[in-house]
Symmetry: C2
Subunit: 505 residues, 2 copies
Amino acid sequence: MEQQLLLATKYPSSQKTRLLNVLLASSLLFNVVLLLLLLLGKQYELPTDGGAIDSLQDVAAGWSRKAAAEAESAAKYHCSGHGYVFVDTSVSLNSDEEGTPACECNDCYTGTDCSQIVPNCVANAESGDPVFLEPFWIANAEAAATVVPAWYRMSYRIMDALDINLSPELEKQIRAIHSLAGNVVTEGRYIVLGTGSMQLLNAVVNSLSPIHAQNPNPAGVVSATPFYGAYKEQTEMFESLDFTWKGDASAWIKRAESLNSTTFIEFVTSPNNPDAVTREAVLNGRNVKTVYDYAYYWPHFTAITRPADDDVMLFTLSKLTGHAGSRLGWAIVKDYHVYRKMYQYVLLNTLGVSHDTQLRATRLLKAALSAYEKRGRMRTGRLEDEKQLLFHYGYGVMRRRWQRLERIFSGSDRYSLQSLRPAYCKFFKMVTGPSPAYAWVKCEREEDRDCAAVLKSGGIIGRGGESFGADKRYVRLSLLKRDDNFARLESRLQALLSHNFSGAS
Amino acid sequence: MEQQLLLATKYPSSQKTRLLNVLLASSLLFNVVLLLLLLLGKQYELPTDGGAIDSLQDVAAGWSRKAAAEAESAAKYHCSGHGYVFVDTSVSLNSDEEGTPACECNDCYTGTDCSQIVPNCVANAESGDPVFLEPFWIANAEAAATVVPAWYRMSYRIMDALDINLSPELEKQIRAIHSLAGNVVTEGRYIVLGTGSMQLLNAVVNSLSPIHAQNPNPAGVVSATPFYGAYKEQTEMFESLDFTWKGDASAWIKRAESLNSTTFIEFVTSPNNPDAVTREAVLNGRNVKTVYDYAYYWPHFTAITRPADDDVMLFTLSKLTGHAGSRLGWAIVKDYHVYRKMYQYVLLNTLGVSHDTQLRATRLLKAALSAYEKRGRMRTGRLEDEKQLLFHYGYGVMRRRWQRLERIFSGSDRYSLQSLRPAYCKFFKMVTGPSPAYAWVKCEREEDRDCAAVLKSGGIIGRGGESFGADKRYVRLSLLKRDDNFARLESRLQALLSHNFSGAS
């Protein structure tokens, strides 16, 4: 009231209204500002430090039980021996109303329990999928299961005290399995891990090639025909200034040596993919660097004749334990600088190799090794325990398959298999017959120029010779797949060879 | 006898001896041949087919128990809260006589139980190791444990019926976590997995660059300073004909557009590594392809202001769940052809991404998602359960650390922190204060030209500005490491800022 009177006496009426308007506007503006400050100021309430979780001491025992129960209950679904349910099998549209997951069926099987055969399913022997070892790992389910704690090795480093990304325990198992197989010298050698040996192909090419600024001639990457196609495809994909694909190594004999300033990097796969032949380098000379891909140099696939001891040797878990999906490979390297360069490559390419995979590989190799150790302690010379013996089991499957294949092809003058001979295997301590990973089939008749097409007409999918830098008259058939896949391949081949299907039919 | 007589009458004496010698030699040779044939013929005895293992039906229940017990008993070792024992912890020289494994100690701790502090240990804040989330996963040990059966997804393919290497269940969880966070549009977008987003950097550069044969001008790969150093290092390592590192994107503004025939690929990291600033592309134009690296665009590290919807967006498990060691990243891609090229790159580089890692990532994301789902069902608006809520927990830790850091730097005119502002976060539905992954420290004094050296003199290891294409006056300090590491960093910084160490001291 007093203020109103004051205003009334001090100001005339029109001025008074204007002033009130200004005051009101200011006040409203102030309201808005305060409100905004209040709202914006209401920041996220931080949990107090009391909420922090300290250490493993607080973790209740039995933390793995739920995950184990889930994994086991998934494994219990009946998939007719032709499929699987895992904990990460999607409860998909295929599933029934109660949310029972549908089985993930193997090739050529279908239905929620994989009990139905897909009619006229082809025998797909295209890929080198090493699933022939699945039954081995099912039989060794207990010894080779892996439990990964939620907090397991989260860091980029495998452990704080190490500056390389290779688990010491995995390294130990890798050296031990080589020592058991007797296939390679590892003492005093460096080991580089890769995301499959696939990653290591380019790691080694990159590491052995001159740097462009120092030498404008790119290294020539070569391999003798028939060669594993990835050497070419990967090298070409990178379109590097430092190296280039130069095809069949044999074409460079003598020529390579004369090219003084050009480095040659020769991939030697032994036993070879696709034809399983034992190989030596084709090129020699001071510009030539040889990389041995020993993916298949294990007792499953070939006689171990000597411990290999080359400068750079590549290996992969895929062909040793069959775990292709885990993506683990390693190089055994003599020279420290080559080792460091390859290690740096893997670091800049993928920041190392999955710790989860390293753990699982450790478990798998340990299971394989301890079975042989036990056998040694039991001093039994017989092989009745082969279900636990990786190399015995693997050799057994591959050898039987090859024998059956040889029988099928023996009468044919139209199709032939590569010729492989028995040899003394230092691992088995006896002469072993051939047990190759692949059949390298040749169509002998003049008119069968495209052998893959001929086989396809008989319901067989192979990988054509041209993928290996070879003639289309050849086809690679994988012998590494599941029993039912091999049986299908067998019966299709039998039909093809007896009925003399022609490529055009 | 008759024969002898016959020989005697028919041949003279000397001839007789010679003949006998020949016969004896032949007979001996024949014996050797027979013996060899006998020996070589003794081939490896194949296990009969009866020895084959058929299917999961034969696997005894409880196959996971041994592995679970081993994992749990390893986790029970007392490592003083500063280290771990896992099943693959080596029983090393450090271990005691009973073969008790020595703990793997975190940085700055030592002793078999990690109870001793390493004297004068530096505060190493160099790497972006996201181990601040370890306690979260320890607290969620049960929900996030992973059990991998021995026969789990051994094939190159994630399942037979799929021709891409991305587990459908993992894809589902990835889309779900994005949908929960609201940070990106995934509907109708393709997802490419990588061995960490590291692998995807070059996958995208390779896929967006012209092929040399079609365009001799290599694409220029750029990023605005300060940028994540791996863009440069990785691009340079590949020495490709198709692309080349062109440095600071800002230097190409206007110039890029004028270079008609040159493609530019700009990496935009938002929030940025190292300085946590929200970023947009610097270059525009029809030759410019922008790649968004959203590694840190999660509620832990920044306010989620909108769902990003760019052409190519990169993410990594490392900065989402903290599992850097698992090597899993993904790209969300609009264009089908870019997606296919990136997919092919990963295939030829590493034949896909570890299935073991895909399983573990599925479990981790599922655990994180189901905690939020439960919270929703409980309709509680409060955050007392933040130990189970990944984003809340992550934000809580990072926010507290930043607040403490701001307090330390607030009085200093010699060192400064980057300036970051609160913003409204659509995920938390409130204004959140800054919670960056890194501090981007500047040495303000004229004489402190090498800021990393100055900090080093105070026992702090950071990553110098030059690694980010920036001035050496800047240093990145990681705030992502363990609590004890951050505490060490805090106290070293406090000492440095109060005592005014000089770079020369």
